[in-house]
C-alpha cells in the first residue's frame, strides 16, 4: 500500500512537469496575447506589464522563470486581473465546482446503486426492464439537452426551482441533477452487471446454503464483489464530472472553476490557464490514486497484481 502511494507520487512529478511544459508552450505559440484586447491599454503600461511578467525576455527564460516559481508553489498573478493571484481565483471558484461535483456524485451513487441492485435481483421482470431502458436513455441524453429541458419543465413551467445562478441550496438541485443523472444511469448498469456476475459465484451459494438471510447475502457478500466495477468506474467518472461541469456551469450560469477556465482561455490569461490546468491535473491524479487505494482495500486480488 505504501509502495503504491509512493510510486504514484513519484510518477506524478514528471507527469505534471510534462503538462506544465506542453501547456506553457501551447499558450505561447498561439496567436494573440493577453494585452491586445479590445480595450486599448496605453503603450507604457503595456510595456510595464510585459516586463513585469517577463514577457520581454526570451521564451525559454520565461519558461524557466515559470517553473522556478511553480516549484515554490507560486502560480503567479493573473494576466487579465493583475491584482489577483491565480491561486486566489482558484480558491474562490473551485468550492463552487466542488459542491456541484460532490452533489452530482452523491445523486449518481444514491440513485444508481440501489436501482442496479434491484434490477439484478428482479432480473427479467419489469423492475429490471423499466430502469434499464430508462438508464439507456439517460446515457444517450447529453447534459446540454437534459439541462435546458429540466429548466423548462421544472422551472419555467412548474416554478419549482430557480432556472439559473448559484446563491443558495435551492439553486444547487437542478445543476446537480442534470450532471448526476448520466452517471446514475451508467452506475445502475454497472451495478446490475456486477451483481449478476457475483450472485452466480460459489460463495454466494454457500452463504445461501448456510441459511444466511437474503438481506445479509446482498449487503455483506454480494455487494462487495458486485460494486467493484462501480469503484473502477469512479476514476474516469471524476474526470468526466470535471469536464461535465464546464457545460453545466455554462448552462446554469454558475461561477465555478470550469467557467473561469473557459473565460481565461478566451482572454489569453496565460497564468490563469496554466494554473487551472495544473490544478485539475493534480486533482485528477490524486483522485485516481484514491480510487486505486479503495480498490486495493476492497479487492485483495488487485493488490497482488499491482
Amino acid at each position: 500500500m505504501t509502495k503504491l502511494i509512493f510510486s504514484r507520487l513519484l510518477q506524478a512529478i514528471p507527469t505534471l512537469w510534462v503538462i506544465a511544459t506542453v501547456t506553457f508552450f501551447m499558450t505561447r505559440f498561439a496567436p494573440g496575447g493577453p494585452f491586445d484586447s479590445e480595450k486599448a491599454i496605453p503603450e507604457e503600461i503595456k510595456i510595464k506589464l510585459e516586463s513585469h511578467f517577463g514577457l520581454d525576455q526570451p521564451l525559454f527564460h520565461q519558461y524557466l522563470l515559470y517553473l522556478k516559481n511553480l516549484l515554490q508553489g507560486d502560480l503567479g498573478p493573473s494576466f487579465k486581473y493583475p491584482e489577483w493571484e491565480v491561486s486566489e481565483l482558484i480558491a474562490t471558484a473551485f468550492p463552487v465546482s466542488l459542491t456541484l461535483g460532490a452533489l452530482s456524485l452523491m445523486i449518481a451513487l444514491l440513485l444508481g446503486i440501489p436501482t442496479g441492485m434491484l434490477a439484478a435481483l428482479k432480473r427479467n421482470s419489469w423492475m429490471d426492464y423499466l430502469p434499464m431502458s430508462l438508464s439507456m436513455a439517460g446515457i444517450c441524453l447529453p447534459t446540454f439537452v437534459l439541462g435546458p429541458f429540466l429548466i423548462y419543465a421544472l422551472s419555467t413551467q412548474l416554478g419549482l426551482f430557480p432556472p439559473l445562478g448559484w446563491y443558495g441550496p435551492t439553486d444547487w438541485f437542478l445543476p446537480s441533477l442534470t450532471l448526476g443523472l448520466f452517471y446514475a444511469a451508467y452506475i445502475a448498469r454497472l451495478t446490475r452487471a456486477g451483481m449478476l456476475e457475483t450472485l452466480q459465484q460459489e460463495y454466494i451459494k454457500t452463504a445461501k446454503a448456510k441459511g444466511a438471510s437474503s438481506w445479509r447475502i446482498l449487503s455483506k457478500h454480494a455487494a462487495q464483489g458486485g460494486l467493484l466495477p462501480v469503484i473502477t468506474f469512479l476514476g474516469p467518472a471524476f474526470a468526466g464530472l470535471i469536464s461535465g461541469s464546464f457545460v453545466i456551469e455554462s448552462i446554469f450560469f454558475i461561477p465555478g472553476l470550469g467557467k473561469f477556465f473557459v473565460t481565461a482561455a478566451f482572454n489569453r490569461d496565460y497564468t490563469m490557464v496554466l494554473g487551472t490546468v495544473l490544478f485539475y491535473a493534480t486533482l485528477i491524479i490524486f483522485l485516481n490514486l484514491l480510487v486505486d487505494l479503495v480498490q486495493a482495500w476492497i479487492d485483495p486480488k488487485s493488490r497482488q497484481s499491482k
Binding site: 444517450c140 435546458p148 419555467t156 446490475r192 490557464v273
Partner: protein, 286 residues
C-alpha cells in the same frame, strides 16, 4: 487464405445481427437520419443561412416545417445541414482515432517486452488526464478550424482503441498462422498489415461504432460552449445551444435538433451493442 471460412463467419454474424430487433431498428433509423441530412438541405426551399427578419421565431408551418429561429432562418434546413456536419465530424474524427489507436496498439502489442510496457504506461498516464481541457485550450487558442477539431477529438479518443487493439494483438501474436508467417520470413510490416490487421477487424468495427456517438457528443459539447462549429454554419451542438437560449420564446428550436441528436446517439449505441453480440459470440450480455 480460407475465404470460405471467413465468409461463413461473417454470414453467421450477419444472421445474429438481423435477429436483434433493436439493432436493426437502429440501423434503419440511422439510414433514415443520414438520408434526411444528406438530402434535406436540397429538398428545402430555404438555405441554411438565409435570413428573413420579417419571419423570426415562427412556429412550425407548411412553409417552414420546423419553424424559424431568431434571425428567421429555416430550422429544417439548419437542422439537416447541422446533421451533415455532426455526422461528418463523428465519422472523420473516429477515423482519425482509429488510425492512431490501431497503429499504436498493434505496434505496442507486437513489439512486446519493455517497449510494450512503456508504450502502455504512456497510455495510462494520458488516460488519467482531463483531456477536454486540452481540447478546449486548443480550440480557443488556435481558432476554431475544422481540421483541428477532427485532430483534437481524434487525439482524445484513440486511447481505448489502442488498448483494445493491443490486447487482441497479444493474443493473436501467439497464433499458429502468425508463427507460420514468421517462419516463412515475412517482414514485420507484412505480418502486421496482411496477417494481423484483417483479424482485428471485428473488435475494431464494434469499438468504432461506439466511438462515433462519443465523438459526436464531444463535438456537440464543444459547439455548445461556443468552441466548435461557428455561425452561420450549424451543427447539432450549436443548434441545441441556440435552442436552449431561446427556449422560452420558441421551444421548437431546442426540441427538434435535440431529439434528432438524441435519437442518433441512441441508435448508434444500440447498433454498437448489437454488433458486439453479433461479432463476438463469446461476449455475453450481463
Amino acid at each position: 487464405m480460407s475465404t470460405h471460412r471467413s465468409s461463413s463467419l461473417s454470414k453467421d454474424a450477419w444472421s445474429r445481427l438481423v435477429a436483434n430487433k433493436m439493432a436493426i431498428a437502429s440501423l434503419i433509423m440511422l439510414f433514415f437520419i443520414s438520408m434526411l441530412c444528406l438530402f434535406g438541405p436540397l429538398l428545402s426551399s430555404h438555405s441554411f443561412d438565409q435570413q428573413n427578419l420579417d419571419k423570426v421565431f415562427q412556429a412550425p408551418s407548411i412553409d417552414h416545417p420546423l419553424g424559424t429561429d431568431s434571425l428567421g432562418r429555416d430550422l429544417f434546413a439548419r437542422t439537416t445541414y447541422g446533421g451533415r456536419i455532426s455526422l461528418m465530424v463523428g465519422l472523420l474524427a473516429t477515423l482519425v482515432s482509429l488510425i492512431i489507436g490501431v497503429t499504436y496498439g498493434m505496434a505496442s502489442g507486437y513489439a512486446g517486452g519493455k517497449i510494450d510496457a512503456w508504450m502502455m504506461r504512456f497510455v495510462d498516464v494520458l488516460y488519467s488526464l482531463p483531456f477536454i481541457i486540452f481540447v478546449i485550450l486548443l480550440m480557443v487558442l488556435f481558432g476554431r478550424n475544422f481540421l483541428l477539431l477532427f485532430l483534437a477529438i481524434g487525439a482524445v479518443e484513440w486511447l481505448t482503441m489502442a488498448r483494445i487493439t493491443r490486447a487482441q494483438t497479444i493474443t493473436l501474436k501467439k497464433a499458429e498462422f502468425i508463427e507460420a508467417a514468421r517462419a516463412l520470413g515475412f517482414s514485420h510490416w507484412r505480418i502486421l498489415f496482411h496477417h494481423l490487421l484483417p483479424n482485428l477487424i471485428g473488435p475494431i468495427i464494434i469499438y468504432a461504432t461506439l466511438t462515433v456517438p462519443a465523438v459526436m457528443l464531444l463535438e456537440a459539447a464543444l459547439s455548445f460552449l461556443g468552441l466548435g462549429v461557428q455561425a452561420p454554419m450549424s451543427s447539432w451542438g450549436s443548434l441545441i445551444q441556440e435552442g436552449a437560449e431561446k427556449m422560452d420564446a420558441a421551444p421548437w428550436l431546442l426540441l427538434f435538433p435535440g431529439s434528432l441528436f438524441c435519437l442518433t446517439l441512441f441508435a448508434l449505441n444500440f447498433l454498437g451493442d448489437g454488433l458486439r453480440d453479433a461479432l463476438d459470440p463469446k461476449h455475453t450480455k450481463g
